[in-house]
């Protein structure tokens, strides 16, 4: 079953220079119990997608379903009971925590707002339980953010997201501000929490090696659109879309024998007034006339979804 589904989801922003099509016609599913990786370079719309799905920003067009129910038009009040079922962890733990609030305060508010606890004792017990799951101790409750290391701050953010027992979490680059040795610890904790609480994740990242290691399926985005979507293993073993191919080939591996061979030329075009037709065409070595004219649809081929004229 799908925990999240979007149908032709669009999010446009108006700017002085024109309309930014940050998310443009995205249809995807997050299956219950899986980790869906969303990768792409800066400006591809992956962060906007995550926030639109949670309705932290209102979609321009399209539909969002949570556990099969249409939540697109729910207002703030009607969304509230859903808020505890779907949550988010942001990239920058410093900006996500209030410097004047202790860890206790941070965890206590969601528990109270959603009426999750009946007594102070129960609240404390719950907090200790969740802090322990994230590798923190009870004594951390009385700490302020500046008394914690970067990794500990991010653990608090994850604990805050988990304490209301959600079913679905958007993880928006949760480890990119952290050192590698800390990153690997956080990833292990996330994996453990996923099993313990039966969670589904949408893991947004620009780090392709990371997504390869932790996701079951993945979505590759380019300029607001999905270019390829399918099982992570399949895509890595045999990428089909020229952008996916080039992107995977650009990633350096922690192995001196494996060198990057064919880096992409050119830069990602501006999402204001993107190229006509296939957005990747100006950088694609196989681009044909049809690519510059028509935008390719996302179609089923090779056991995945691809948006490229070559696979019609």
């Amino acid at each position: 079953m799908n925990i999240i589904e979007t149908e032709n989801l669009k999010k446009f922003f108006d700017s002085k220079k024109g309309t930014v099509k940050a998310v443009n016609n995205v249809s995807l599913q997050v299956i219950e119990g899986e980790t869906l990786g969303v990768v792409g370079e800066s400006g591809c719309g992956k962060t906007t997608l995550g926030r639109t799905i949670l309705k932290l920003i209102e979609p321009t067009e399209g539909k969002i379903y949570f556990k099969g129910n249409d939540i697109t038009d729910l207002n703030g009040k009607k969304m509230r009971p859903l808020r505890k079922m779907m949550n988010i962890v942001f990239q920058d733990p410093v900006a996500s925590l209030n410097p004047q609030m202790t860890v206790y305060d941070h965890l206590s508010r969601p528990l109270e707002i959603h009426n999750m606890v009946e007594s102070e004792n129960e609240k404390i017990r719950r907090m200790i339980d969740i802090l322990n799951t994230m590798g923190l101790k009870a004594e951390h409750m009385i700490r302020y953010p500046h008394e914690l290391s970067g990794g500990q701050k991010q653990r608090v953010c994850i604990a805050r997201a988990l304490c209301v027992e959600p079913d679905f979490l958007v993880l928006d680059e949760p480890t990119s501000a952290l050192d590698v040795s800390v990153q690997s610890k956080i990833l292990k904790l996330l994996e453990r929490a996923k099993r313990k609480f039966d969670l589904s994740y949408m893991f947004i990242s620009h780090d392709i090696n990371l997504v390869r290691a932790i996701s079951d399926r993945m979505t590759v985005m380019y300029l607001g659109k999905i270019v390829e979507n399918g099982k992570t293993k399949k895509i890595f073993n045999d990428p089909k879309h020229p952008y996916t191919k080039a992107l995977l080939a650009s990633v350096p591996q922690p192995d001196p024998d494996k060198k990057v061979e064919t880096p992409l030329t050119g830069d990602v075009p501006s999402p204001v007034n993107p190229p006509k037709g296939c957005a990747f065409a100006p950088r694609c070595s196989n681009s044909k006339t049809v690519c510059e004219r028509d935008d390719p649809d996302l179609i089923e081929a090779y056991g995945r979804k691809i948006a490229c004229h070559r696979y019609k």
């Binding site: 370079e41 800066s42 290391s149 970067g150 990794g151 050192d179 590698v180 040795s181 800390v182 990153q183 690997s184 610890k185 990833l187 292990k188 994996e191 620009h206 780090d207 392709i208 090696n209 990371l210 390869r212 290691a213 932790i214 080039a246 992107l247 650009s250 990633v251 350096p252 591996q253 922690p254 192995d255 001196p256 024998d257 494996k258 060198k259 990057v260 880096p263 992409l264 030329t265 050119g266 830069d267 990602v268």
Partner: protein, 331 residues
């Protein structure tokens, strides 16, 4: 700086460098006897996590430290001359730019927003190569072309905000080339860039290294980038050098427990989440750092000796040095 250094000979030699910072909370012992040799024509990676002292090392080389820093001992020899003995004036006239250049993580803050890219590169050309205006412009265009910027004429007229991050970083490299620098210090130059742009940038660096005799000290926290472009790698931990080796040796046969842990923390092609090996504990603060080997509180192999005695950087083969009392026991 007249000494000629041949390819493969040491151009920069750091010996037993000790440095501390005075802060309100106490003395931060930032560098605890660093040894580092960069040879002419090589790309030397300097890797470590936040606060290990890699950036401080590079700032020391160029004399760019803040007032609260104090060098406690050691030497930084560049072409045989100790840079620590030079005045700011000497450094500016004879070292910065024409001998050693540096590029930073954020090219946006390194470029002047009110001058075009071309004008900024021209400044270096006029200083070091040619004062003739017409010729200077031609030389600028040549340098922009060498760093593979598409349409140099166009880039020349652009202001920094009109260029993408990858292009700006390449303008920085063009500036360094215009100075005829022999040693480039690159401090996390691709951290702010996307992977496809990073790949383009690394390729430019690699080509320059092959075509010229440029030496590069490449500072990063990214193990994958190190394996991609470096010839030699030095690993730092909490202000100490723990291991220096040829890049193949470092990845295939690491000897220091910290290097081993670091390599296992990085997701690679065949790793899944269960394979992640993590290093217990966290990086120590450098006010009252651990005694002896600073890694000992997190090391599963640590014994009494590690607490008492700082291990020396020991040569274990022609291109491999390690600072661990028990390196022979590491698999």
């Amino acid at each position: 700086m007249s000494l000629e250094v041949k390819r493969g000979e040491p151009i920069l030699v750091i010996e037993d460098l000790e440095l501390e910072f005075k802060t309100e909370e106490g003395i931060v012992e930032a560098l605890d006897g660093i040894d580092l040799v960069v040879k002419k024509g090589e790309i030397h990676g300097l890797i470590g996590e936040t606060g290990c002292g890699k950036s401080v090392t590079s700032l020391t080389i160029l004399g760019l430290l803040d007032d609260n820093a104090r060098i406690r001992g050691g030497h930084v020899y560049y072409k045989g001359e100790d840079l620590l003995g030079l005045s700011q004036d000497d450094l500016r006239k004879n070292v910065r730019g024409n001998e050693i250049s540096m590029i930073f993580q954020n090219p946006q803050s390194a470029l002047n927003p009110v001058y075009t890219a071309g004008e900024q590169v021209k400044e270096s050309i006029v200083l070091y190569q040619s004062e003739d205006k017409k010729e200077a412009k031609k030389l600028v265009l040549d340098e922009l072309d060498r760093v593979k910027l598409p349409d140099p004429e166009d880039v020349y007229e652009k202001y920094p905000h009109e260029l993408s991050g990858g292009m700006k970083q390449r303008v920085m490299i063009a500036m360094m080339l215009a100075c005829n620098s022999k040693l480039l210090i690159a401090d996390e130059p691709t951290t702010a860039l996307d992977v496809s742009i990073q790949a383009q940038f690394l390729r430019v660096l690699k080509t320059l290294q092959k075509e010229t005799d440029l030496s590069i000290l490449y500072i990063t926290h990214d193990m994958a980038v190190v394996s991609e472009i470096c010839d030699i790698v030095t690993v730092m931990y909490a202000g100490q050098v723990v291991e220096t080796a040829n890049v193949n040796k470092l990845f295939k046969d690491p000897k220091h427990p910290y290097t081993i842990g670091l390599i296992h923390s990085v997701p690679g092609v065949e790793t899944s989440i269960e394979d992640f090996d993590t290093i217990p504990g966290t990086v120590p603060r450098l006010i009252n750092p651990p005694s002896g080997c600073r890694f000992h509180p997190r090391c599963e192999h640590a014994e009494e000796k590690c607490k008492k005695e700082k291990p020396k950087l020991e040569r274990i083969s022609s291109d491999h040095e390690v600072a661990c009392h028990f390196w022979e026991d590491m698999k």
